[in-house]
Every structure is written in C-alpha cells, then in structure tokens.
Symmetry: C2
C-alpha cells in the first residue's frame, strides 16, 4: 500500500469514528449510529460521506448545533404515519426508533410514511433507504438542507441541495437504489474546484448578481443551480414541501437562518415513505417482482449501469480488504482525538 493512504479494517474504522465522536461529547446511542453511517459511506467508496464527515460532525458538536444526548421520541400521527421527534439530535437514532413502526404500518396498511422532525442531517439517504428495503418494502426519502440553490429562473439561493432517494427490494440481490442531490453537482465538488483554483463548468452556479459564472468562489458566494433546469428545480421545491411544511419542519431557508453563520449541518426534517408490494398484489407480488428483474436486465444487458452498482462493488471490496483513508485526512482526523 502506498504511504499516501492508511488502510483500516471496517472494525478499526468503526472504533476510530466512535472514539472521535465520543471524545467530542456525543452520547450513546448516537455514537454508534453516527459512526455506522460514516463507516457505511467509507465502505461503499463514498469518501465525501465517509470518515471525512467526522470533521463536519465535530464542527457541528463544537458549535452547539446538535444535541449530543437527545432522546428521540415517537409522537402522535394518523394511522399510516409515523412521527419521530429527534429532539435536536442526529437523525440516525430517530430513524432507528421509528423504522419498526414504519415497517409494521406499511405491511398492515400497504403504504406508510415516517417524518423525522428536529434532526441534524449530515448523511446520504441511501443507508436509510437500504434499511427500509431490507424489510421488503419499496422506499422513498427526501430531506431539505441549507438554502444554497437558486430556483430555475431565479437569482438567489432558496432551496437546499435537496436529495431524492428511492429503493426497490430485489430477492437475493442488493436493492435497486438511487440517491442524488437535485443540484447540478455536489457543493463539495465546487469547493474542491475552488481549493484547486480551477474554474467550474457553466450550469453549476451563478454569482451573487445572478449571472452565470465559471468562478467557483463566485458560485459559492452566489447560488448553486439545480440539475435538469426547470425540472430539477421543480423537484427541489417538492423536497422542500414534502420534508418541510408537510411534516411541520424547516425549509432550507429556515435551516440556514437557524444555523446563523455556524456552518453546521442542516437542521430540520426528513420524510420516508414505505410501500409494501404485497399491499396491491398479495401473493402475486413475487411474480411481478420478477418483471422488475427483467427491467434491470434490460438496463445492464445494453451496458447501462444500475444506479448504485459502483457503490455495491466498492462494498464487496471493502468487506474483504478494508478501506483506505488518505494519510493527510487520517492525520487531520487523528488530531480530533486530542483536540
């Protein structure tokens, strides 16, 4: 192995993440739940959602923008709805609390939705999507973030990066999963261009006056753009509504105002929908799930990749070989143990 990387087993990565989080005051069960999410990102080759996020979490903890010992609780809602109050803590523990009820309601009624309120959100949505599909349910998830993104035809940040995630359970296979920001590109990608002094392609952002720009710094000070023009913008607005006012929680603009310059992770809500294929189809569901397999074969058979294919390939490698962390990042993270 090159000296530029530090290799760790997944157990070592998990212990390391737990130690950093605990050192900065995060309490059980959040330590385990948050560490697990980061290890999953690192394992799946999503470096930006891997151990790197320890820097983000420690910053958020230090800024006092997350409740380190929050005890999430279930709140009242209609029969097919589950509502969990994260009480200002990270979303993971709240999700784990609500998941069994989401699954049982979806199985009983055919479809159910879970709102997580008052949570701090730093992770991708696919770990939660996979947790729902593991129960044989179809899953959708949405969450706003901070207002960094201009609506199509607009000039000022209003929407968040507002990911949409979807999962479909596959018998004997990894689920069909996608999870993407409704922006043209991740904010971190523009940040990387800025650090490297490189210009960005048109279509990623606009400057503070609302003009198209290829200057990364100007775009970060202005607004990011959605993917797919007015269609991506419409989807981004939908995420604001579904995981904001519909569940009584913050829009991205409100989250950024709440942040008040601390540059902490977004604060607000998340909506997860679960649908039981047996709810419509009963015993015939299995046969129709096979027709979904024909669709996937139709994609891969012509050279198209399934959305999470690379991620699952990285997972298979990491389970055998562990993960490799850039040494510079590892050293930054190690310093967090003393900081």
């Amino acid at each position: 192995m090159s000296d530029a990387f530090v290799r760790m087993s997944l157990d070592e990565a998990r212990d390391f993440a737990r130690a950093v989080l605990a050192r900065h005051g995060l309490k059980a069960p959040h330590v385990d739940a948050v560490a697990e999410t980061m290890v999953a990102g690192e394992r799946d080759g999503c470096a930006s959602h891997g151990l790197y996020r320890l820097l983000v979490c420690v910053h958020t903890l230090k800024a006092g923008k997350v409740v380190p010992d929050a005890e999430p609780s279930m709140a009242d809602a209609a029969a097919a709805l589950v509502r969990v109050d994260a009480k200002g803590g990270y979303a993971q523990a709240a999700f784990e609390l609500g998941l069994p009820r989401l699954v049982s309601r979806a199985r009983r009624l055919g479809i159910a939705a879970m709102a997580i309120n008052n949570c701090v959100h730093f992770s991708a949505l696919w770990p939660e999507i996979e947790a729902v599909t593991a129960h044989g349910l179809v899953a959708l998830a949405f969450t706003p973030s901070h207002a960094w993104v201009a609506p199509a035809g607009g000039i000022k940040p209003l929407f968040g990066t507002n990911p949409i995630a979807f999962g479909w359970p596959r018998p004997g296979e990894h689920p069909f999963v996608f999870d993407f920001a409704t922006t043209a590109v991740a904010r971190g990608e523009i940040e990387l261009h800025r650090r490297a002094g490189k210009s960005i392609p048109e279509g990623w952002g606009i400057d503070a006056e609302g003009n198209a720009t290829t200057d990364a710094e100007a775009a970060l000070a202005g607004a990011m753009l959605t993917f797919g023009g007015h269609k991506g913008s419409a989807l981004s607005a939908m995420v604001e509504l579904l995981a904001g006012p519909l569940i009584g929680d913050m829009t991205s603009a409100e989250s950024l105002a709440h942040d008040d310059g601390a540059k902490a992770s977004p604060f607000g809500g998340e909506l997860v929908i679960g649908i039981d294929p047996a709810g419509f189809l009963g015993a015939a569901a299995a046969e129709h799930m096979q027709r979904a397999e024909a669709l996937f074969d139709g994609m891969t058979g012509q050279g198209a990749r399934l959305p999470s294919q690379r991620r699952f390939e990285a997972r298979a490698r990491s389970l055998v070989e562990g993960v490799q962390i850039p040494r510079a990042l590892y050293e930054d993270l190690e310093r967090l143990l003393d900081a």
Copy 2:
C-alpha cells in the same frame, strides 16, 4: 380573429370533442371524461394535450386498442391502497371511480395510494393531480408509456417518457403543480423537428446504433434520452417500477410489445399517492401551509416562475375568451365527424 384560427367557447369545444368521440364508438361515461380532459388541455394552452388528442384517440379506437365501453371496477387491496381495474378503457373513468376512496383513505390514515390498472393513457397527469389537491391533499402521480427512451449509458429504448407529477394545495390559490416527462424533451417536439426538416440539439436522442445524433428521423428510429443524465434516467426507472411491477402492471417495454405496431396510446397502469397535511400536523397544518406560501413567495419574488403559472394564466384567458384552434387542425378534426 385571424382566419388561421377557429375560436370556440369551452362549451363548444367540449361538445365538439364529445361528438367526435361518440362518432367513433366511445361510450358513456368515457365520452364525457375524455372530452373533459382534452378541453382542460386546450383551455390551459397545452395544445399537444388539447383537441389535437382527438386524432390520437380516434386512431386508438380504430385500432381496437381501447375498450370503448369498459366498466371500471374497484378491486381488493390493503387498507391504505385503492386499486381500480380500468378493464382496458381510458384511465379517466377509472380515476373518477377511485378518487373518492383515495381521498377518504388518505384523510383517515394520513397517506393512501391508488393504482389504476389495465388502462389506456393519452393525457397529462396534471388534471388528476388537480383533482386530488382540490380535496386538500398533497398528490404524486406516475405512469410509464411506450419504450422510446434509452437508460443513461445505454443504447436502446427501454423506458417510456415516464412523467412525474406533483401537486400541493394552496388555500385560495391554484395549487402548486408540476408534471413533466423524464425525457429531455417531448417526443412530439422531435416529431415537429422531423416534419420541419430541422436538426435537433444534442442530448435529445441517439440513433439506432446508440450514437449521439442531431438528426430527428434518426433519433425517432433510435432512442430518446432522459433529462438530466443519470439522474433523470434513475427517475425514469423509478416510474417504471412504481407504476409497473409494484401495481402488477406493464412496463413501457411491455406496453410497446402489447401495442404490436398499432401506434396506439400506451396501455398499462398509473400510481397516484395522496397525503393529508392534517395527518402529520392535525390542527397545526394550516399554520405550516403558510410556511409553504413563504417558499412560493421566495420563488416568485426573485423572478422565478411557479411550475404551472403559464398554464393557469392561459386558463384565466380561456375562461373569458374561449380557445383558438389552428384552422388546419380544426378541419382535420371536423373530418373525423364524417370518417
């Protein structure tokens, strides 16, 4: 008025559409339901979903690809799910049959979904989205079509144009509604370029060998592309799954095979989800809906258009002035009364 157009009141347009449909064997209640949908399209300035669709419907009727006197029926499903069998008829009457149950289940349980099976689908989804939001519910709708679209990274048609539609009820205002194909552009747009002998921009389609093309004819013989690259492609796959295997109905590839060269409207299913804002929030829902209004103000206040704004403006005009049909189209449609 220019001689190039024929002006009709909405009542005249409705009577005209009914007469054409009845002349070609469509039976009640389909005649009224289908005519109403076309008049709504014409009224809202969506000419491609207006009276022009009479040509498409008559073709589908003549090809024997729709059951003109289908009697839709409600089928068993889980408590939060509604399943309507359209019995090979147009989707409209089946939707009207199922809507009251979708609304009552969503109100009682918080969220509910309706599958329409075995239907012929020629219309936009926004008329149905508006019908759901009129009951104060948030709405989502999906339907596959015919396999004309290649997945990202692929070379052959597999997906349909696969629209996604969303609606959000607004007190005292038209709802927030979007409804768009997951393709880069409507198929009809490529068709118009072909007729005019104009080249198409890159990104709309690929030829039969899977190569990028700016030749409209080559793209129609090859495959259309999704909007937004792999993100639009992932959404298109989601529409196939949600409104195909999940509800026990056809994918776009299966619909095209069923069509067997008849060039009739797509055949298969549709999924509609309704969510009651009061389900999560109870009496506090009204206050949180006001926060959604702040989001809309944040869009329009910076010059961004709400997704259906132009359509609602056209509606306001048409309610006063009626609609204008290009004379050449009108004459084609009139001939259908004798054909």
